[in-house]
């Protein structure tokens, strides 16, 4: 099966008069239909920037890119505005963290979904509303016919998030980008939305990229997990391998320091220091200042992403020495 999405050596830099931020520094990965890739990282890791680059959502005048992003074989970074308009919403859809701001507060949910359907498929308004109702049923919103006439502020957070998913899937995209969609939701609602996403992905054979900072969430939804740090993918592996045997010191530190049951009474193994300032590209490995296992060759050259096991990629000199 060919790849739905191919990202090669993506670099994204934001340039303002005050400062320059090297947000993404060489990211490469593939995604097939029916597969979920979880991108795990903390603030400043570049995970959201990577995601948004796939739809070229960053302000053009401040952003510099290089590399390649191919959706179903077409290069996104070369696209003109018309081609981008076709791509967005129709072939690639995105859901965001804050459902409250994704909807326009002065129009009903039904109107907004129907509008998108009409725009991309040319259906009549009546047909589009019917489709909107089907979509609301699909995302398990109770009393969908009435909810069509509801305004965003009349719905709870969980409902809005479901409505956003309905909006995203309204034009049958093949790729769904999810930027921390459950971070702002309560625990009991979060698990409902995660299960819904899993179910919808199976039903529509979607390719999904799910960005999150929560390991548990990543484990629940992903087939593969990519860990990002300072604008690079430092480890990429199947979800079971990542949880059982992470190899990069950052991934290991992250898993070791995440609080879960059974840790009561033990001291947490914290990663010292803080994520780096992205104003400059470091000469060596970006994680070196915080790494327990740092060696002289870590700061000489940035390490490459190498295969260390069955489709297990790690960016660290330690694993390469052994391989």
């Amino acid at each position: 099966m060919s790849n739905l999405l191919e990202v090669r050596d993506l670099h994204v830099t934001f340039v303002t008069p005050d400062r320059t931020v090297h947000a993404v520094n060489g990211v490469s990965f593939d995604l097939k239909r029916g597969e979920t890739l979880g991108i795990l990282g903390e603030s400043g890791s570049g995970k959201s920037v990577t995601l948004r680059s796939i739809l070229r959502l960053h302000p053009e005048h401040r952003t510099r890119w290089s590399g390649s992003i191919r959706v179903e074989g077409e290069e996104v970074l070369d696209m003109g505005s018309r081609a981008l308009g076709d791509l967005r919403g129709q072939r690639v859809a995105m859901i965001f963290q804050e459902p409250a701001t994704a909807f326009d507060p002065v129009f009903t949910i039904g109107h907004q979904i129907a509008e998108t359907v009409q725009r991309h498929t040319g259906k009549s308004e009546a047909d589009a509303l019917k489709r909107a109702r089907e979509l609301l049923e699909m995302v398990r919103i109770p009393s969908p016919a009435q909810r069509l006439k509801a305004y965003p502020h009349e719905m709870s957070g969980g409902m809005r998030q479901r409505a956003m998913i309905a909006l995203a899937l309204s034009c049958n995209p093949s790729l769904l980008l999810a930027d921390e969609p459950t971070t702002a939701l309560d625990a009991t609602v979060q698990i409902q939305v995660l299960l819904l996403l899993r179910e919808l992905q199976r039903e529509f054979d979607l390719g999904v990229i799910f960005v999150t900072h929560d390991i548990g969430v990543a484990v629940e939804v992903s087939d593969r997990i990519g860990v990002m740090y300072a604008g690079k993918i430092v480890e990429l592996a199947g979800v079971e391998q990542m949880v059982d045997a992470p190899q990069h010191p950052y991934s290991r530190g992250l898993l070791a320091s995440t609080v879960h049951d059974g840790m009561r009474g033990q001291r947490l193994e914290a990663i010292p220091g803080a994520p780096p300032d992205l104003g400059e590209v470091p000469t060596g490995c970006s994680f070196a200042p915080r790494c327990k296992f740092v060696r002289p060759d870590c700061t000489a050259r940035p390490p490459d992403l190498r295969v260390t096991g069955q489709s297990h990629l790690v960016r660290c000199v330690l694993t390469q020495a052994a391989a």
Binding site: S156, T188, Q190, I191, H213, E240, R267
Partner: protein, 343 residues
Amino acid sequence: MDSLVPIEDRGGPAQPLLLASGLRKHFPVGGGLLGRGRKVVRAVDDLTLSVAKGETLGVVGESGCGKSTVARLLIRLLKPDRGTMVLDGDPVDEPHGITVNELRRQVQMVFQDSYASLNPRLTIAETLAFAPKAHGLPAAEARERVRDLLSKVGLEPDTYAERYPHELSGGQRQRVNIARALALRPRLVILDEAVSALDKSVEAQVLNMLVDLKTELSLTYLFISHDLNVVQYLSDRVLVMYLGKIVELGPVEAIYGNPQHPYTRALLSARPSMDPRKRTHEAPIQGDPPNPIDPPSGCRFRTRCPFAEDVCARVEPLLAETGRQEVACHMRVAGSGHSKAAA
């Protein structure tokens, strides 16, 4: 060392450090010419809790449960509509007790890190010196206290004292938040989602620090969070809230190991699994946490409870002891009328 001495223990270990009884706080919601609407947010309703000396009491719940309101009531940032508070035997804000100001010398709060938690126009030193100076500490001693506080939270005084909040990372700012809460040498520290906004790697650092500080300074913690794992890690006892009421309360092992209330069980099983082979396949409960404006009659959880029956709508369950914990559920009370209760 300096003139702002910490308040001494009075009642001994058996006396609760803080006892709050029958707390109620309702907020009117909009409308009406003079702001007097008919709708009311019943944020906290008839809540009683006690915090023992030296313990960490964890408070968990989802949005709308009232846990943040409780925090603000305990430190008197909000005035309760009803209810009393007793701090180590002294009634608060009553004729023969201590004043609210005296309460604040002993009870302090750590806020969640956000752009609004530290004054962006003040240096870190100015922020930390504010409270001691407001209580009469002379400037020179306040400076010493600031250096001491910064060292305690792992921030080099020479480097950080003259910085501004925007020059610090989230974790560093949270350390400053904690230092600020410790400035008056309190006995009880209320932590309201204190680690929620931090990256996981930084969260671990700060949790370790909180544990160390508690021992070093003989503190008592009230730890409020929506993150069940962190609460389990830190707390000795845990209190579960739903729509302004306590639904379950007990030692942490009992609550996590043998939860009795259906809501507690749902919360615990809603945590994402860390094992890809044991993924969650069914959501523990459906729907969203309801609005505290018009809570359901009787048991407030009944609209989402799979075991709800008539009696749940008619009678409000009170906290009753069942084994090692207290639960507010008709199923656990013999003779309540619920089909699952003992006769």
